[in-house]
Amino acid sequence: MKSLFRGSFAAALLAAAVPGVAGAQTATVKIGQIEAQTGPNAIYGYMSSQGVPIAVDEINKAGGFKVGDTTYKLELMALDTRGDPKEATIQLKKLLEQDKVKFVFGPFLSNVFVTVFPYAKQFNGKFLMMGGGTRIHEFVGQPGNEFVIRTWNWDAGPKGFGEKMVDYLVKTANPKKVAMLFQNDSGGKILGDIYEPIFKARGIETMTEYFEPGTKDFSPVLAKIAGFKPDYLFPGYSDAALYDIVRQSVEGNYSKKFFLVRGSTGPGLKNKDGLEDYIVYVPKDFEEAEKKEPKVKHFIDAYKAFYKRDFPYDQAPLCSSSCYDHVYMLVEAMKKAGTVDDVEKIRKTLLSMTYQGMWKISFDERSEQIFNFDIVHLRKGGTKEVVHVEP
């Protein structure tokens, strides 16, 4: 059980009632995390909440980190929102007001972010929120919203990975028609809104369909899409749906060429004999990177040791690994800024530096993360071609 809910509520109440007790500890930096670790929308949140404890554990076991003359250890408070905005609101309050946490990772879910946003905004300048949720894009980089930075690079724009992905697609396959099939939730709707113009700008005709969350049988909607005769199918966005979409599309002979910007190589590898083309954005092709990059190998070993189970190569391990990186990145920013509690200074340092971990991470002017990624191109039979992209 690595998600720690330290200090029961009652104890916290006591601490709040007796001033001084709560602030008595020294040389500890608290970091909070609010993610959906369980519940129907827990895929990303669950993985994120796996990455952070590994890094925290490593740093603490190594004796902590030094800022100025003091050595600090990290204390992680990871709370499970279950994807319920009500829970998230309570938990964020607990983190900010009772535990006086200054750094919060999460959330990945847009509805959770949107709900806690007005409250969190009251703490602008007093804490830093690092979340991956798509809708954070609407709020980030605006005056008054300095508290939030987005830990995922944006799809659109010259540095957006979406543009780069589509460019790659045009370059290698030059499609005329692309069909998009997204989950009917905020993430899916936003993807539709982003990619329609990107394709249009390149003269590619599009068709967009949405499916109910939890759909398992896609053949009706795939049949409908097949009527549009797309060159590529662009399905999104979580593995749970992708496995089913890719398999059913290949088996049902609807479309055998896929283009994905969220997800993993798993669905492609699983159906490698039936498909013709499978172009996917992955933050990192872990199988290849493990051999070449010591940091990646170290992370994979640490993951196996920490959770005592295999590393899920074919899944989307992005969140666990990137959140692992984020902890180190934050520590580096603290060291550089020479403080652990001047949030503004740390934020500025963070935004101006480039962190070189498993990823090369920097931020754009809107406080949105930019990192390098891989395009994995699978062809029939499973031949794999990896293109490294640095925006």
């Binding site: 059980m1 998600s3 809910f5 330290r6 200090g7 029961s8 509520f9 009652a10 916290a12 109440l13 709040a16 009632a17 670790q37 369980t38 909440s49 990871a78 709370l79 499970d80 279950r82 905005p85 009500k86 609101t89 309570i90 309050k93 607990k94 007001e97 009772q98 847009s110 509805n111 949107v114 709900t115 946003f117 007005p118 809708r135 009917n184 939730d185 905020s186 899916g188 709707k189 936003i190």
Partner: protein, 315 residues
């Protein structure tokens, strides 16, 4: 009405507890209590197992906000619009269900189907509800108070008192209702519909009334909830939300005045008082539910009332 004394400590609580988090937990507890009180009127009162209350909850928040957005109404007037909508919807659905004499399981399933349809409409009628993206609610309710004039409900403490007063009003209403002729007619229907009819009660009309009142109360909870969280999304109308309220009422004690509040305390507040890893919290929720249902068939309040009565008899 004696049950309302139970709420007095809650009014005094903010004097002792300064924790914003604790108050927030209680605000949500109160809001969900209101929803549960609504369900208790139709199920605990008239014995009709509805699954529509979450839909009414959602319609309440959507309709209030949309009428504020489009007609520029203040919160309370906006809520009145929502009441009209909910009453109309309830009458139509209730009319269909009761005219066709749907009972028990069948009534539950048909109301659940209607609730799902409402949720799907909220989800896909994007031009009005903003679909799956939900709606950000930055407006806050206002209240006219003596001395201070018009006050915006913004701070946690203000919300605490607004929701607590709302709960008190709703509870008082439900207590009044239950001991009035209407409540007695509901009881007669719950006891035996044939008997109720031979006692001169138009059961169709009173079942419809119970269904409508319950939905209006649920919509009140929904309106406040939406404005408190500042975000309205289609999952407000989900079956899970309905089931949660049902669990609260059965846990606390069906057909009792305080049951829904106690149930909501147990299911909403308690998880925040216990230190548990994420995966186990879900399991513990399930265990509490199972144990209470199996060991206290009349719920916590029912059990307590039984014990008190027995003690009174013994002495």
């Amino acid at each position: 009405m004696k049950a309302l004394w139970f709420l007095i400590p809650l009014y005094l609580l903010p004097l002792v507890v300064k924790s914003d988090t604790m108050l927030t937990v209680l605000i949500f507890t109160f809001l969900l209590s209101i929803l549960a009180v609504g369900f208790n009127i139709v199920f605990g009162g008239a014995g009709q197992l509805t699954m529509f209350h979450a839909a009414a909850f959602g319609i309440g928040s959507y309709a209030t906000f949309l009428s504020m957005l489009h007609f520029g109404l203040p919160f309370w007037l906006g809520y009145l619009v929502a009441v009209v909508v909910v009453v109309l919807v309830s009458i139509v659905i209730g009319w269909i269900c009761f005219k066709f004499r749907l009972k028990e399981f069948y009534f539950a399933v048909v109301t659940m189907a209607f609730a799902e349809l409402c949720r799907l409409i909220a989800l896909n009628w994007t031009s009005v509800t903003n679909g799956t993206l939900g709606m950000l609610v930055l407006e806050k309710p206002t209240l006219w108070l003596p001395r201070s004039g018009i006050v915006k409900i913004e701070q946690t403490a203000a919300w605490y008192f607004l929701t607590l007063v709302s709960l008190t009003v709703v509870l008082a209403f439900s207590a009044l209702l239950m001991r009035s002729w209407i409540g007695r007619n509901f009881s007669a229907i719950r006891l035996n519909e044939d008997l109720a009819q031979t006692l001169g009660i138009d059961t169709f009309r009173y079942k419809l009334l119970a269904f409508t009142i319950s939905n209006v109360i649920a919509s009140f909870a929904g309106a406040l909830y939406g404005f408190y969280t500042g975000f309205i999304e289609p999952s407000y109308l989900s079956v899970t939300q309905s089931l949660d309220a049902i669990a609260m009422v059965l846990l606390g004690g069906v057909s009792t005045i305080l049951g829904p509040v106690v149930g909501s305390m147990v299911l909403t507040s308690l998880p925040h008082l216990i230190e548990l890893p994420a995966e186990l919290r879900v399991a513990v929720y399930g265990m509490i539910l199972i144990l209470v249902i199996l060991l206290m068939p009349r719920g916590i309040v029912g059990l307590a009332a039984g014990l008190l009565k027995r003690r009174a008899h013994a002495s």
